[in-house]
Amino acid sequence: MRMKDFAIRTLAPLGAFLLWELCSRSGLLDARFFPPPSIILYHLIMISPGEGIFRDIGASLSRIVLGYSAGCGAGIATGMVMGLSRRTRDLLYPLVAMLYPIPKIAVLPLIMLIFGIGEMSKIMVVFIGSFFLVLINTLHGVVGIARIHHQVARVYRISRRAYLRHVVLPGAAPAIFAGLKLAIGYSLVIVVAAEFSGADAGIGYLIWQSWETFSLKSMYAGLFVIALLGALFAYALEWLERRLIPWRDDRDTREHHDA
């Protein structure tokens, strides 16, 4: 069963690669612009390390890890406080609602103005991007906890501490995870864009440099790495979600059995 699942999940990417390979080899696609994926993979594995791709991956990853984890931490904390306190929500939500839709890349120049063109400005954009996504999802998760759970907690005189730890946190956990998953993908988008300008390392830097020197194979190598990282992050978070939220496991199908 698990083998079958795995096979199904790899089918679409493999098929896409195969199609691309065929089109490129047969001349249907111009191989100068669209080199076959096998050649890109060869380039990625054999040539790119010599060109310093690990340094680029390391640079991007450290920016993501720092910005994302700080952003998620702050987002969960702020979302919790806003979810639990009506006052705080009324106070802060208008601000959040205004700041959230601003494309984070659009504020990059401003951030560079404040934090300089070094590491800090790139970490900060990732931080801000993750922060708002996780905040909004956490907030909705906390507010959306069924009224009856609050009532049970009150009738049985559950302490404030236990209430936060054992009712609010798990109650909001599915929504929090939705935020975490959105934010990790978004972090990747932001960091690459931020590295297009004013960086001397990173996957975005690699792509931009390769474009400028017309080393298309290196550019594609950068794109492959991003795709791979994105999928890796998504599956890692899904794995973590299944571990941390076991009660949610195949809920959809269960509900039907129940009826």
């Binding site: 009856i148 049970v152 009150r154 049985y156 005189r157 559950i158 054992h166 109650g171 956990a173 009660w247």
Partner: protein
């Protein structure tokens, strides 16, 4: 009986004393009177049913008794401090196993004895026939089993007063009867007072020592019927019992004018 609380029989302890309870909700569109001038007593160890149509304020009444809401007028005194409550449904924490749903509450009340609490949780799950499902999550078991667990949870806290808000309303007929019988057995074993809210006349007559029949708009008590059906009651036999049928008809008689008046 509104306005003059029933005098209690000598020697009987009072569990709940409600006098001239009223609850009004203020909405932007105007105020809604959910309860008006409601007075009654519940004796210690008594099974007290509150019977009425939806919108008669019986859920509001339970919220007032449990302290979830406070009355707009009047007062309610509750003797026992330990209260258990069973809601209509979905009151178990979905993120906890059935056993944890019980032991978590027990841990709150006696944090020093978590191992004993787990034992107690298991014993209560066993009593309601869920010993095989103690490690299941609520969504993995049927609606009837979830309500069993909810009933077990409310008994596990060793309540002197049990508040039940139409706990079986969403169950099918057969499951409902099983749970009604189970509830009676557990109640007789524990001996706590019960306030059981329902709109189901048969259910009220099957379970209650006394039943308070309510009317709506505004919610208030029409009458209180004494139910002298002998205990222990076996619900299957009871449904053809002449006295049972008589009591059901009496209850219908009380609300007859209202049945005809609406809609």
């Amino acid at each position: 009986m509104t306005g003059h609380p029933q005098s209690s029989m000598p020697g009987q302890k009072i569990s709940i004393q409600a006098s001239q309870l009223g609850k009004t909700y203020e909405h932007p569109a105007g105020s809604v009177v959910a309860l008006r001038d409601l007075s009654f007593q519940v004796h210690a160890g008594e099974f007290f049913c509150v019977l009425g149509p939806s919108g008669c304020g019986k859920s509001t009444l339970l919220h007032l008794l449990s302290g979830l809401e406070s009355p707009s007028t009047g007062a309610v005194t509750i003797k026992p401090t330990s209260v258990g409550m069973v809601f209509q449904e979905h009151a178990l924490f979905p993120w906890m196993t059935l056993e944890r749903n019980l032991s978590f509450i027990l841990d709150q009340q006696a944090p020093a004895q978590q191992a004993a609490n787990r034992q107690l949780a298991r014993r209560w799950l066993q009593k309601v026939g869920l010993e095989k499902f103690q490690h299941a999550y609520p969504h993995q078991v049927s609606g009837g089993m979830r309500q069993r667990a909810a009933v077990a949870r409310s008994f596990a806290v060793q309540p002197a007063l049990l508040l039940m808000d139409e706990p079986f309303v969403h169950l099918d007929y057969q499951t409902r009867m099983q749970l009604q019988q189970m509830l009676l057995t557990l109640w007789q074993e524990v001996g706590c007072s019960v306030v059981f809210v329902t709109h189901d006349i048969e259910e009220a007559v099957l379970l209650a020592d006394r039943l308070m029949i309510m009317s709506r708009h505004p919610g208030t008590a029409k009458t209180v019927l004494q139910n002298d059906l002998p205990r222990p009651r076996h619900l299957l036999d009871l449904k053809t019992n002449a006295r049972f049928i008589d009591l059901v008809e009496q209850s219908i008689g009380v609300i007859r004018d209202e049945l005809q008046a609406v809609d």
